[in-house]
Subunit: 396 residues, 3 copies
């Protein structure tokens, strides 16, 4: 059967003409005959999972045939020219390290398209028929709502659980792998939050459907890292040659660590670390930056740094890290506040970012300044997550 | 560009021809360029929020252009003749006091239309593409389900959170205002339940999108008040000249207090208060009724009141108000029960109402009498909430 | 009015021509006029509820008229030839006992159709416009997600609550019956999980809309029983003449008890019970099997049983049943493990089943064998629930 290229024809075909190889794949993914079970034999090895993910890839390549709405959406939005299945293959989102500069640019391009999607436009239906499960082993309402909004803004549907621990309660003792194999029967993609570092990678190794890591313990929170870099590009207009001040708790914040890591992929970036002594940036990141040729320095002078930087990235001092030493916490907490005095010395084009929630490390009267970018940054999280869901489910 | 009035033309235009001023507004609401951020400067003042809400209002006026499904729905349902943007502007639903008689009538007219919407009719899609966030700082399953059903019955989608306290946990300390500014990036309307009186108003002052108060502490629960008045009109056929017996806990029930307040807007209403001594109606409401020329009296004789009234509005005696004094509770609780004896003396056209849940203050064998209106009353909550969601999101 | 049989005509009629008796019924179901309230008088008796359910039945019969999408779906899928309203009437799903062999076959036939529904095909929209409430008095994420996925895969919408106990909290004391009468105002079907045996039946007696029991305490979990039998048929190709080994905790597991009960409906079934002494199958089931002419025997030799059976149905030893006697638990737990040695003696066509979650009663390296059917079994739960939702909401 010749695959039709005209969209109106697509519409007529809705669900009627699906190439055989896709039908077969679907059958296999349904887990419902032994031919799949045989291939599941191999599924224990990473190789086989890679094969399954490749099958998913083939699916994304052909999916416009299966979904006329999406087909029309692509026509309108102008399909990006990346070659499918070559460089920008995206099976799971597990850690910031998996993204190189080209992949980041490609994702950001899709995120920009997401910003332009209007209510009830064809673009708002590109994930119609898809089901996302939010499997949260610890609650994180902010992150969950952002993902669920992203899915629904694209016409997809959501299965929510914020008490996923129940699946693997001590009493019952189910493994994460068993849970994933059950849930992948109910959904097309899993967004997972877990309390253990490495859990997302384990899930991705098991699953035949895409996994997005929405934070695994002290480990990774890659979508936060992506939205941070995306926000810098949106606000400043470039990523090469920028000066970034990272302020606050640099020892414990996975946000600033991931951001420093990703910034190293760009040219002529200069990073300033401004933090109380007890929560300084750790040596591993400093060494990594040096090895990548990124200039960095530590400073105790927030005003000086703020006057030089394109980005002042403020973070919250996390009380829970100080245990009994409330005195140290109080001292650290009050040390570097972004207020109107800091704004005064900042350049006109520069912006203040913050991963939120904030306490008082940014004064409330900063909010009204156009350079306060943190609520726009939160909103960018929506577009980045829309882009990732689109890419993982239907491809570029 | 001339706005087209024919619906088929609308359909062709889907997402294509949006007047420029709306596009600009949309861009601004996206929080994603500094032109908005500048206007956010002003947003700290109520004046500016009012401006934003006015922008929303303009949006509703033009939205049929943007949503052809809704356009068709309006054609079929006959657009009500209220002049847009004049008297019946509705930006948020915060408290019973904001509604005057004309606005109530207008809302009730829309609620009646909501009752008639059939499954999969065009009317069932008028909120397609809209996203409602239920931001509940304390769980209230009954109220939440009613709002979520209302949204979904109109084709809209829902983001749910019943643990919104996490957003502003003591440990993290985010303000309500910051939470609202984050969530308004994910949704088109926020339905909020909070434990603090006044929280809904604070949220509405901050938000650029509509806020509906689904109860804020001992303060307000305006949609309950609206559904109560709507039920009286539906059951009795009028609001002027009615006689209403308010029975039970009149001191603590915000329901009866709001109802008394709203009834004062109608002509020749007579109110009877029937309650155990420990939970009598407070003086502020009595004085208000007197000042508005509403006749009222207290009575200890439920049978007598029931025989005279159009409405017997029973409420639950709330045990939690009695603390250690279980003896007082038990005495108060058993004093005024609506049972078949009460039904016996009630007029044929009169009805029994109750905000639910009930304990034993209405005997179960009353349920089977046609005059038991309380489950119909609960169902009316659905229609009132459908009407409010429609009005706040797409206008009259 | 003649009911039109052509689908395109259906589409034009969307919501326009609904036979009067359906309109009247809808009005009644809306709870919003006293004519319904009068009939509610009778609703206290089972007879009247039966009448209401019959009304629902009439509705399903005519619903294609009301929903053109579904109409098209039926055309494509070939309507099964069961005579409506005769033998296969299904109003609620309360217990395994309500299903006879013909009804099971009919349901399985629909489940097979469900397996074939493709994303964004007409079949994926047959429950569009319908709303399911998951009323869970105790959390069961696995079961809930399966039902919610089923509903959404058919285009329906979901209202979720996992804290339904709040409705009937000790403090407030609302009865289950009152809760059901409220929730049925918001949804078209209720999926209920409760901690008390018999709760689902009470709900079904009260409700005018269908109830599905998703587990009520130690009582019933009928959809699990259905998916087990469905899996056997899908895996083995038949139900008559099969040999089934039930292994593990046979005393406490409601799963194996229900399964034994349903297997008795088929010809020439042989059942082997393999369990530690402390958790043997109870006499009531043994006596029932005998009375139904089903051959059964107890065995302590798992290898021997495994070599003879078509199905090895393993279950988890539930620690919570052993109280303080951890020694007994540990002994029972380790006694019968399904591992590669067991696979070795099993026939080529035989399969291993398990209701999940598992602990270590099936070794992880069994998963890779094509005969490990337990994840396919979990997936079958989706199809069975899709079939039940379809049958209860729109009929055969």
């Amino acid at each position: 059967m010749a695959s039709s290229s005209s969209c109106s024809t697509c519409t007529l075909q809705r669900g009627a003409f699906v190439p055989k190889e896709i039908k077969n794949r679907n059958r296999a993914l349904m887990f419902n005959d032994k031919s799949f079970a045989v291939s599941a034999d191999l599924a224990q090895s990473r190789l086989s999972v890679a094969n399954q993910k490749l099958m998913k890839w083939n699916q994304t390549q052909k999916s416009p045939l299966m979904n006329p709405i999406q087909c029309r959406a692509l026509e309108i939005e102008n399909v990006p020219s990346f070659t499918v299945g070559k460089k920008f293959q995206l099976d799971d989102v597990i850690e910031a390290q998996q993204f190189d500069r080209d992949l980041l640019n490609a994702i950001f391009k899709v995120a920009r398209e997401m910003e332009k999607i209007e209510k009830n436009s064809p673009g708002s239906q590109i994930l119609k028929g898809y089901l996302m499960a939010t499997l949260f082993y610890e609650p994180s309402t902010r992150t969950r709502l952002s993902f669920e909004s992203a899915m629904k803004r694209l016409g997809g549907e959501v299965l929510t659980t914020e008490n996923a621990r129940e699946f693997s309660s001590a009493a019952k003792g189910e493994t994460l792998e068993d849970t994933i194999r059950t849930v992948e029967g109910y959904a097309d993609i899993i967004v997972m939050r877990h309390f253990e570092s490495g859990a997302a990678r384990r899930a991705a190794t098991t699953a035949g459907i895409p996994i997005i890591n929405a934070g695994d313990g002290p480990g990774q929170h890659p979508t936060q890292a992506l939205l941070d870099v995306y926000t810098i590009e949106r606000e400043i207009g470039k990523l090469d040659g920028i000066k970034v001040g990272l302020v606050g708790d640099l020892a414990n914040g996975r946000t600033v660590r991931s951001l420093a890591y990703l910034l190293a992929k760009y040219q002529d970036v200069k990073i300033y670390f401004v933090s109380p002594d007890v929560v300084k940036m750790k040596d591993d990141i400093k060494e990594y930056l040096t090895s990548e040729g990124v200039e960095w320095e530590e400073s105790a002078d927030l005003m000086d740094v703020a006057s030089k930087c394109d980005i002042v990235y403020q973070t919250r001092i996390q009380r829970e890290r100080f245990g009994e030493r409330n005195d140290l916490y109080e001292e650290a907490r009050g040390k570097y506040i972004v207020d109107r005095d800091v704004l005064q010395v900042m350049q006109k084009h520069a912006v203040v970012m913050h991963p939120l929630p904030r306490l008082d490390e940014i004064a409330v009267d900063v909010d009204a300044d156009p350079r306060a970018a943190y609520f726009r940054q939160a909103k960018n999280g929506l577009y980045i997550r829309m882009a990732l869901l689109k890419l993982l489910l239907v491809g570029w």
